[in-house]
Symmetry: C2
Subunit: 451 residues, 2 copies
């Protein structure tokens, strides 16, 4: 009987996050102040000092605070599976493994950083967190993180999602957070917008602006962000560090690592602990494939340019592959992949040729997700379905070539909150979105000018 999964005891859980900045062949470009366009730190009034330090740290290993480890243990270490059933269904000689983050109380990887961020906010004496959320994945994880440290949490949720997708709002409220539809009457920017357009359905840009205004207006509040920034990716490396231990138990080493990318924190959390072997020459032929939606293809279609991290242009300017900060992607179900840019660390590695990128369209990703559900049992969120599509394609290539490659899938979470998307797919109503070239070109005209 073959082994199905590789578990770690909680005593085997890694005690340090891995910081890729210690091992980059070239340093990251700086962040730029959105007004002066000069190199800058994260705005100190918004972020705890410890996170600002982590953002720029060159220390290879950063200790995970005991209190954070203690909460991680509620769902960590997460399981690594060998996908025997999928391999058999594909009749492939490839060995497929997947690391699964769906067993967290929020059903995704997001709590890995939410808990850490809440810890530092609390430790530095603050009592309250403000943040924004689109479909609600990040807002719900942050609500849970804040709860564990007795912090108040205020989430500005894009109004159209607040109204159409109530379940993640209820998750937030169950964990004790206050969630309001954005634009809201609780901030000046919200009130101004509502005065002009009382029925405004909101946007992530507006929600960020409200959360930032909220944090700036109160001495007891810090602002938290769920992806993109270096410290967020850092916190997610617990995923890859666990996987390294588990793959060692499986006597296996990945030839190909595949994950979906929106802001990039999920996949970076898995592959950063491996890419150091590629950089150092231990495994130079390792392939790392970032999968994005054709509807929002920042790596595969965007230029490597200076752009604002947020739609409103309040956040620092970063060097990244971007579709333009004013680009609003088509409404694919994978809400977590609808970000105009990409984590600077991933962009830097892509520019250096250390990772690959591929864009997949919606219907094919659900076809792959259903195949996964009908072999491995797990019903995946729309985001990891993008990665599953590529894993299946690579496994089928192995069938053609006869190669027995080892493929590792970064699986970010379950799809129990996304059943309406599966319904659309199964009933033939799901649509593909072509690359929205004209919208991107219009948005790219709005890039900030940086010398």
């Amino acid at each position: 009987m073959e082994r199905t999964k590789y578990t770690l005891d909680e005593k085997e859980m890694p005690t340090h996050w891995y910081n890729i900045q210690a091992d980059l062949p070239e340093p990251l470009p700086p962040l730029l102040n959105p007004v002066t366009k000069q190199p800058t730190r994260l705005p100190p009034p918004l972020f705890p000092d410890a996170l600002n330090e982590q953002e720029f740290s060159k220390e290879r290993w950063i200790e995970i605070p005991e209190e954070v480890q203690d909460i991680y243990r509620l769902w960590r270490p997460t399981p690594l599976f060998r996908a025997w059933r999928l391999e058999k269904a594909l009749d492939t000689p490839a060995k497929i493994f997947y690391k699964y983050e769906g067993t967290s109380p929020a059903g995704s990887h997001k709590p890995n950083t939410a808990v850490a961020q809440a810890y530092y906010v609390k430790k530095e004496g603050f009592k309250r967190i403000s943040t924004e959320t689109g479909a609600g994945q990040w807002g719900s994880a942050m609500s849970m993180g804040a709860m564990f440290f007795g912090l108040e949490c205020k989430v500005y949720m894009v109004r159209i999602s607040y109204e159409q997708k109530p379940y993640r709002r209820i998750l937030m409220e169950t964990w004790g957070a206050k969630c309001v539809p954005s634009p809201s009457k609780d901030t000046q920017i919200g009130r101004d917008i509502l005065t002009k357009d009382p029925t405004c359905s909101g946007s992530l840009g507006i929600a960020i602006s409200e959360a930032v205004e909220d944090a700036l207006a109160r001495d007891d509040t810090k602002y938290c962000l769920g992806s993109v920034l270096n410290h967020v990716l850092l916190h997610q490396t617990i995923v890859g560090e666990e996987t390294r231990k588990q793959m060692e138990k499986a006597c296996a080493y990945p030839d190909i690592i595949v994950g979906c990318v929106g802001g990039g924190s999920n996949f970076a959390g898995q592959f950063l602990p491996w890419i150091r072997d590629k950089i150092s020459g231990v495994k130079p032929d390792m392939r790392i494939i970032c999968v994005e939606p054709t509807a929002c293809p920042s790596l595969t279609k965007g230029p490597y340019a200076w752009d604002y991290g947020d739609v409103a242009g309040l956040a620092p300017i970063v060097k990244m592959y971007t579709l333009g900060h004013t680009f609003v992607p088509p409404p694919v179900h994978a809400g977590g992949l609808r970000y105009h840019g990409m984590a600077p660390i991933i962009c830097h590695l892509y520019k250096l040729g250390l990772v690959e990128a591929r864009a997949e369209s919606q219907v094919g990703t659900f076809e792959a997700g259903v195949k996964f559900a009908r072999t491995e049992g797990i019903i995946s969120a729309p985001e990891p379905n993008h990665a599953i599509k590529v894993v299946i394609d690579e496994a089928l290539k192995c069938r053609e070539s006869g190669e027995s490659k080892t493929i590792l899938l970064a699986h970010s979470g379950h799809g129990h909150f996304d059943m309406a998307a599966y319904d659309a797919y199964l009933s033939g109503k799901l649509v593909d979105y072509e690359y929205p070239r004209e919208m991107v070109e219009a948005a790219l005209a709005n890039l900030p000018k940086v010398d």
Copy 2:
């Protein structure tokens, strides 16, 4: 640093189900044929022979087939948690443990028997399963079980749930099952009802009748049931057997075991492996508390009587605590606890004084569930919230008495499909249901006459 959870490697997973019938102080009453009222087996056209044997077996240990173990390993062994945070919030000297089944792909304990039943249906050469479902927990688990063995699965889902709660229907379809609203046009009984009442919203009784007719009409089909029967409880004992190993690792032994009961399979799966220590005198003072809703209080209010297992009166007659097979419980959110009777094994043990029972009303169970979510992180289904309420009450009694009792909670699954119920609670709209005495008295007048 204290240990948060006790995991087992998949190689430590129990290889046998535990059959309480080997250790009962008195044998179970027989099943009676619904027409002749003579002792009977399960109807052979409906059930695989192996399950009929298990239903009446006196063998203490029944080996879990390799193929079933292999699928169990996708989510088993499940974790046992020490509820440090809940203990601290309650300021109790009690030690609280919970065994959590929410990490299965369906989010509950139901797949433990669904997979086993599908295995035997396949092994005996059948190609198709028919079953019924109310809110969809069982139907979705059975769909997954059938999928793993390449069986077709047809689920008759109570029409009002089919329309109001589409998410579990979509789960079923994602796993490849066919789900139709009941009454349907696919059976004679369905067509007859629709002719008389084209807008009939359905009932579990009608859905059972359709699933049974379906199985009887086709040589390639067997019928599967998700609770109540002995073989279903047997398959769930994997839960308690794992817990015994985990509690041993924790150097702990339960003084009190608490679980929710509808048909009874979830809680029996946990406590049957422990109650043998109470029967044998190893732990005579062990308390086992079955928690049911005040809206459907079969153990605490019903007589111990012969009654049909199903609303339509097609199933065998069993001796059980019952509210009458024609009783339709008020619409509490804990759909899995809305059964008019109770598993004969649990009723027998209750009659013998080996287990206790308690009824809890809806609002208090959600209050307990929110306390659990805000300490342990996990958002629980409405069913286990009933057990959490009693765990908290017992822990508070320990605070008063100063006793450091060990309390074990059987936690059947997550509440990610039940967020609307949390919304109702958090917005103050959730209602309590008093014991519906008059409805029960009317239903008890319909009990079958057995000499």
